[in-house]
Amino acid sequence: MAFDNLSEKLQNVFKNLRSKGRLTEDDVKSALKEVKLALLEADVNFKVVKQFIKTVQERAIGQDVMNGLNPGQMVIKIVNEEMIALMGSETTEIALKSGNEITVIMMAGLQGAGKTTTTAKIAGKLKQKGRNPLLTACDVYRPAAIEQLKINGEKQGVEVFSMGDKNKPVDIAKAAVEHAQKNGFNVVILDTAGRLHVDEEMMDELVAIKNAVDVTQTILVVDAMTGQDAVNVAGMFDEKIGIDGVILTKLDGDTRGGAALSIRAVTGKPILYIGMGEKLSDLEQFYPDRMASRILGMGDVLTMIEKA
């Protein structure tokens, strides 16, 4: 990949500065040009990048180069720290209600992001934790969406609640919660249809569901390959419906996943899990530091710096 050698480039920028003990404004600026390009290549939103570079620049200028770190590494260290800070310094889990109170989780996102698959993946995780989840087929539009959820539910050994495609998603959601109450389920996961953030009618549908049932967590499912538009998508889902967390899918690909940074920057909501494959067990914990090094495309360098 083009920017795997970001660290090399930075070494070059600072080639003549090894002896310097302090980062000057000019040093930092020329180094951050390379960082900026790397972030843009990784699909971090242009405006987010600009803001980010500004923050790093302010922090880096005048810093003493530490023992064991050359100026290039010093800049990377600061970039990395700021990125992790922006991405939420620790891992987070889906918040569940305690005891027998029913937790309702609503999945939302663009078409094809991975909602239905992720719904089944989460069910598997919750089941392992001793919860009793009920999956609910609220996508009444996509051909065979219900069948898809049913097959996945069966693979996970989890019940799927469906009322066909002739009912409104709001009514299905309400009925599902009632069904859960009567039958001892303590988590209801609503799989909803994919929709565009600019489709008002469809966005209103999610708002209606939220108003009708007591949704504990609204989770935005985002394709990790998303480009510059991630800020619009995440921003509008959060603004119109209100989201509590994000799941990034398809990170088993070779995308750098800069959308993660953009989404965090516009919503401030935690990234809960990452999808690492099509199999229903392929859902992993999100680690901000690993994501940071993925976006920068230089895991090894960072590991080395962490230790310094």
Binding site: L40, L110, M225, G227, Q228, D254
Partner: protein, 298 residues
């Protein structure tokens, strides 16, 4: 449609406020291109070319410069008339791409379109992996009013393709559309599976006109370039279908792909109904690329 509304407001509002061609002006262009997902490399190339032309033609007016830029990207993205030959030929269309981009839906839409043109269409359900992929495609076959050849979940997709080719031949079908499972381009075994399907078509239907469409989600960023490259190593890609153009993403990565790999965009998806597939229009596309929200800050 929704896209058209987005597009018509046009490009006149952009680059307003510039009285001369200076660094700020070029920076504004750079920002628009990067925000449209063209990527750093294509953007830099475009701007370098533009600067050269401005110098060469002694252009002084930002408006003229803007027009120059727009025209050159339009020219680059223009699709040759021959691009749609498969619609008239006896052809096999292989539809490939990563997960969830809109392959199955595109096959359904394309089937409907070709059927309307009086072509006899057969579709092959060669996604035997994803849950309910066959049911989904069956519904599209039903909507389009065409026949589908399917396989059991877990069956070898190449064998489905084999059966479908035989069936298309014996029925005297004009066009065979093959839906395939979503696969990430970095998965060796899945790409090998695709190679095999491709080989079967070559072997079993050597005189068919071949069309291989890579479906790209317009929302995708720089990774789409890697997708196009690696799918291109497995099959001869003849065109791109850019889906979900009814959203706010500009699909600018297609420009980078056109520059680097010379693969044209042939269709765009603009919604989820059977009518929502259009032939690619370079003018509309570039106009939309340069349309920014009037109310954006800065």
């Amino acid at each position: 449609t929704k896209t058209r509304d987005n597009i018509v407001s046009g490009i006149d509002s952009i680059f307003s406020g510039f009285s001369s061609i200076d660094d700020d002006f070029y920076e504004e262009i750079e920002e628009i291109l990067i925000m449209g997902d063209l990527g750093v490399k294509a953007t830099e190339e475009i701007i370098e070319n533009l600067k050269a032309k401005v110098k060469e033609n002694k252009i002084k007016e930002p408006a003229a410069c803007k027009q120059l830029l727009i025209d050159s990207i339009k020219e680059q993205m223009r699709v040759e008339d021959t691009a749609y030959r498969f619609e008239e030929e006896k052809s096999v269309v292989l539809v490939i791409g990563v997960n969830g981009v809109g392959k199955t839906t595109t096959v359904g839409k394309l089937a409907g379109k070709l059927k309307d043109q009086g072509r006899k269409v057969v579709i092959a359900a060669a996604d035997t992996f994803r849950a309910a992929a066959g049911d989904q495609l069956a519904e599209w076959a039903n909507r389009a009013g065409v026949e589908m050849i399917g396989g059991q979940e877990g069956a070898d997709p190449a064998s489905v393709v084999f059966d479908a080719v035989a069936s298309a031949k014996s029925k005297g079908a004009d066009v065979l559309l093959c839906d395939t499972a979503g696969r990430l381009h970095n998965k060796k075994n899945l790409m090998e599976e695709l190679r095999k399907m491709n080989r079967i078509i070559d072997r079993e239907f050597p005189d068919a006109y071949r069309e291989t469409l890579v479906v790209l989600d317009a929302t995708t960023g720089q990774n789409a370039l890697s997708q196009a490259k690696q799918f291109g190593e497995v099959a001869d890609i003849t065109g791109i279908v850019l889906t979900k153009m009814d959203g706010t993403a500009k699909g600018g990565i297609a420009v980078a792909i056109q520059s680097e790999l010379n693969i044209p965009v042939k269709y765009i998806g603009v919604g989820e109904t059977i009518e929502d597939l259009q032939k690619f229009d370079a003018d509309e596309f570039v106009n939309a690329l340069f349309k920014t929200d009037g109310n954006e800050e800065e």
